[in-house]
Subunit: 340 residues, 6 copies
């Protein structure tokens, strides 16, 4: 399949080891991450040509960050340098009834201050078949919505398929702010991805009968939400990840793909969580891979759900699964028996 | 609320990392701990003024130990120095069917050899509203029962509320020894805390139909035990923690509070254990906090149970939960979803 | 009981820490291991006199490897030195739906190139009562079947009881190769051990109605398999370990012992897996211990099953349980409560 | 001696373990630090009452940061909360010919955006005898010079002794900017501290014959510089730390104290560097301690030099030496023999 | 400068952490390495386009190994897959009088069994300007000399400059074997690199008056050796690294470059060793960089010596220095002062 | 040579990792150690048959401790079990001018409370040729001098050679106490070992002109001391280790052996210290090895000095050097060059 380009933030996640709380940690595990970069790493592990576009300050730590993408084969030749800082967030991993906690420090970053002209879009898009962004990128600053919209428009103009994960972050913008921007982006998007909360918070479209905290998920409601999105914005396909959070240690995980008026549900996985961050990103990667390989809708949603199930059994934000590993789970082998 | 003073041992817990057994370890994780100190740290994290009284040998390791209390805001200005040693215990963390193992080395310690006069009780009690001890302190040596009894009497004399966790330790004294001492302390206690075994072992009061090993817990039996205690010793309220140990990895956890002739049960939590040590101490802290804030009995037992549920999802013996975190679980959010 | 001699490979297991994947690791945990050596360490922890025979290259790393056996009391005075290398395998620990992965590098090793004459069998067998091998040893090279068969014959000649775990490894030889060799070894064996797959793969004897991947286990089928083995090869007793792999994190575990025409099933344990490698080896050790202590068949299979249940709650391949710990689980205490 | 108040930034230092470079690190060691906070920790370890004033965002990471000060006894009750972020810097430790490298990310911090009114100066200064700042604090933003100057004036008004370490940071401001601000602060200072570069860069006063890179230090030149400062600004005493950097692993270290027209040089230490960051801060602490204990000038400079020599033999930025340890080195025992 | 292609082994170095001996280690630090790969990583860090050619078994560990090269920007698209295994060596780091120890396990590897046809030389050489090998590659097996000679001949034919580091390994082949092969390779080489022992062991050319163990190095002797090599084999330039090993912790390090009848000596560095492995490789990289940038001979040898001095202040085999860092040391700043 | 029996304490050393201070540590490195046990491990690594006698409490931690001796081949079958506790000491490693610090907690231990009858001396001495104790063992309690004296007498009676390291510990007993006991032991000793301080503190024999703190060592004085000891107590040979502590990081190290009226000095090593604890023990081991192999006095002192030089380049208290490694250093190769 053709190259997938991702555009977004790239930041440093700092986590106390294991289940230590912030106050107990004498070191932080390092994880350079970003919603779009995570998607690209996952695709690159699947053998897809990928390229990541971001903006970082010049310096050794930025180079260290980018080297983790290069390690997994993601192209970084169009990364822009400049600005003041790389974002940071602190993540304390939860367990059982104790939730994970995130403390953000992602303001004033190089990419938040970027303008459209800071990037060489002509070069960026020259070999691309897909362009992936998430709702985090336009939320980074007041100037980023414009950059994102123009980039999506340019992608559309060139016949590049745009995929987008709504990824609403309540501490980055309000639902109203999100809606005013995302309503302009969604019409440019071919494949839209959301989790249980996003459609409601970002587009004001809600699935009746769902209560995120209590974990009740209403299948009919999600179909209804997806149908509304497709009708309102002309979206080709809408995917919804369905997480039932029993506790910080155990989640049920599955997904629905809605396309051409029909909904396809994946099987549901009972996941013993190793690290749930990046679950949605790996789902997006699976879906883009399915798109690029013309999987039928049922296979597509199963592939993406299995990919993201596996991600959550790994440490850190990257999904390092190969297509062979994912297809084995799709085929039903979730027994976890040793592979020699 | 007024200052809470705790009096007891402060010792070094040495644990192999993760699930390693003693024989496999090349390092020990450090955890300076003590039943009463744990209660104070938990209270201090809840914003309560606290002060810990113990006796330690003079030296760098004692200072390192005390610095962990200072770190969490517990006052240590009345700690006495002298004697030969600080106690040590070795803890190997169990998993699944394999139990945790503790090897004690807590004899001949500075506090075990302390006399009542080693402490400046006038200064200690000058600002106190609550005095907390556990059944471990009088078990430390033959001289400690006297110190504890006199301290409780002094607290009573000054109108300071005494709280006590029975905390029976079978390798420290026999039930007979425990009974002869605790029968003199319990009448001085306002709020008494026990786990499933303590009332039977220490006071000879047993709840019919309970089998600790098999995990069967008889609610009616516990109410009966609490009623007997209140009647016998004039205790204001008796709390019982209810642990059903399915395995070293999974416990059910809840509690009952009995006061003014009525029993209040908390909800039961299915806890994926991170570190269960300190669970009872954090419950006591929760209960003392509830007492100091005039929570109604149902709220009190729910708050204390939620606090101690959260403790068991953290590494080490300290409960680092804030009231906000505890109340969120009391309010029903145990889904463990990421908090950004 | 008399000394147990084990003969087989001894190799270096390299594992990324925790749940890291190969690509994420900057260090490997070290675990010198081997199916027969694991059995001996387990027996030695139970107080049995043991001796391990293998062949290793001369050098510091071999000495480091052997020191881990000496640490647990296993005799190594008849280890032969020479040849080119010690084997290595890389093990990535799975979690939930993600299976553990093993990459082997165990060709061309010192033992694979060994001849019968490289070992001083007279000395080796001088004090032995039991001789233990597994199906891995003859699979090491084209010359090893001969060494194993001659060693078993010599053991039989001396009245030493031979025990054997079929332990089929599909990446070491084909079922046909295995069958042609093991059919000559099994008649020399007193106690034969197999897991759910081995009898089928190695001896072509299959239990109807069992599907390893889906985890369905058919008790009647296993009895039938064991009966066939006893009839065909004159085996005294056949034990089968029964693993139901719900996921890489959760397994059901039990076993059957068939002897004198009758089958004995152990209770089934729901194991929260810490490290499942070495589970079968610790079962074999438990069974040999039972044999040496004349346990009745029900006690024997319960003891071996409990021993191997406990192994899987420990890190690394060695079972470090004592008979006291095992018997406590046999007696029903799997509650995992803290032992002080 | 009376309480020492420090005012300045408090930031997170992130360092790869050992001698790893940024690109090699998979974790960062955590070190919450700040020039003024380091001085206070050192003084608190010497038994001095201390209080730190800064401004931090509200949240768990700030609480973790402050807990490290509380651990060492530094008072934090007047810390202001608000603003966007806590600063971060990345430190890669050098060795031999390879220099340590620092990447700063300390803009837009809560304290950089603070105003004079954000702090309760009346409360802050109520028990203080000394007020310590460094040249880093006014360099944090365009608004901070005013806050610093007003705080120093207020301290002067109250008869609180002001001490100041010039601490020039070239990536925070230019010499011109520094000079325009520091020329207003220095006249308010009782004891001024500088390293080999500061006087030149900040005040434009240079000691002839000194070449920082080559490590040549000219004693006469330094006396001349100190004399000029005293004359120009009416400073009571000027201390200069004298570092001869032979390599990142080996430094010569000593100091000069100039007061009442006379210069006092400490002995020179050949330091095998463990962590040189915080060396200057621990020198300042030693000097303030000497000031508060009326040491004669020779003793004062020896004490401060010995304190800071010891700091550089410890990991992280805090000097954890006690007066007893420091005086032993002052007395000449630098043999490093084991103290039992 | 044009692309540099390297051809050789790529193996796993396993080292106990810090100064632990093999017997003390419970984990090994991972370092995928190879003499030629190390050169390429160093060049890639300097901004040079590089490509590594080797042969590895197909599998996850090989992918993990290659990802470390990709991380630093080295191209791996022409790596061949097949064969049995990747080599391993165990390295115990020495200190002071205790030498580092290496235990090799590098036989039977995929590359040792490779044939010339396993590689797509046309593709490999399509963009290359330089081809680098070392004396290790032909020493890998009896078939490798032929592969190396043919590759060098092909490089010569295409006008690609061949560089070679003699790198004699006494446990891989005898001096006689080495000589018979290297005498055929050296005439194809433009730039030859050797350490104090290589010329003697491999080419039988010795510098009088040098005693490697005692550390005496005779400058005139080295010039003589280099002159002989140039005359005998028509080599353009010969570089000799000059290591005086005072102990495992302290080395003097410098180099000589001989070209066009004249010898150029670098300055000598007193290196406090962090990890000396890879020192020679980083020197070769520096020299190739100098060649590609037309440095004059004095600058070339200073640049290469400074680069390799810096390497030895870093952990692991890769030199992660940038040209800016190297030139700063060339310019004389070895003071190790912090760079902010 | 014949078996060497050692008798003494076996305790747990707890050290913060690297150069961390007690207050900074969140884990302790584990090192089960004892002066006599260290000697035996060193001898066992040299191929000598050894047996260690001590008394420990029954339990898992004692078994873990003993397993570290078994790992290195030291026999432990005569260890007595009983009593209350195993000793502990805390060791903070110094650097440069900062000394290492030890906090002892070794009172009330199982061995301190042992009586002569607790050990099966007949069995212990049945195969022994050498009996080694140090001055630490009789210092453990008021009952231990008697046990030690009787054991030495019994050894003398059986013709077993007694070796003794004075090893004065000032926090265990006073010089007067030590003298009154050691004066009864020394006459039973064949080979006596002391460091620079011991002869003075324990026997009241002093070498003029030596100042331990300043590091001045007077060779003639030491000869004089040794001569006096031999004359007074009839000792066969007296060895003195000569440490010049330049700092905690750098020591000069050598030794003198005085026998038959003549003194033999080893060469002096400049040691870059990794861990100096156990240096004296490894010297004793070297000397006993020399005794058992009839080395001439010069070879004996060189061997013992080289052995103990190497020890100090290793982590932890055990010397893991082989005779081959030691003889290589004796032969003059201290260059630390990599051994492949």
């Amino acid at each position: 399949m053709k190259q997938v380009v991702g555009f977004g933030d790239f930041i440093l996640r700092l986590s106390p080891p294991g289940y230590l709380r912030f106050m107990q940690a004498s070191s932080f595990d390092i994880n350079y991450t970003g919603a779009e970069a995570n998607v690209l790493v996952s695709l690159s592990m699947m053998g897809v040509d990928t390229q990541f576009v971001t903006r970082l300050p010049d310096g050794d730590v930025s180079q260290a960050a980018l080297s983790t993408l290069k390690k997994h084969g993601v192209g970084v030749s169009n990364v822009a340098f400049g600005g003041e800082r790389m974002g940071v967030f602190y993540l304390e991993k939860g367990a059982s009834q104790r939730p994970s906690k995130i403390v953000y420090d992602r303001k004033f970053t190089s990419i938040a201050e970027a303008r459209y002209e800071d990037f060489d879009w002509d070069n960026i898009f020259s070999g691309a078949g897909y362009f992936h962004i998430t709702g985090i990128t336009p939320a980074l600053s007041h100037t980023m919505p414009d950059v994102c919209i123009r980039a999506c428009e340019e992608a559309n103009r060139r016949g590049i398929i745009v995929t987008c994960d709504l990824n609403y972050r309540k501490n980055m913008w309000t639902p109203d702010e999100a809606k005013s921007v995302m309503e302009r982006i969604v019409p440019l998007v071919h494949t839209l991805i959301a989790n249980e909360e996003d459609a409601d918070k970002v587009l004001g479209i809600r699935s009746e009968g769902t209560d995120v905290v209590s974990g009740v998920i209403n299948r009919e409601g999600y179909i209804d939400v997806a149908r509304q999105i497709c009708e309102l914005y002309g979206t080709e396909q809408v995917a919804v990840t369905l997480r039932k959070s029993l506790s910080a240690s155990d989640n049920d995980w599955g997904a629905m793909l809605y396309t051409k008026g029909k909904a396809y549900f994946s099987r549901t996985y009972q996941v013993r969580i190793v690290d749930r961050v990046g679950g949605g990103d790996s789902f997006a990667a699976g879906l883009i891979y399915a798109l690029g390989h013309d999987f039928d809708p049922q296979h597509a949603v199963e592939y993406a759900a299995a990919a993201s199930c596996l991600k959550q059994t790994m440490e850190m934000d990257f999904n390092l699964s190969t297509p062979e590993e994912i297809e084995r789970l799709v085929a039903g082998d979730g027994s976890g028996r040793v592979r020699r």
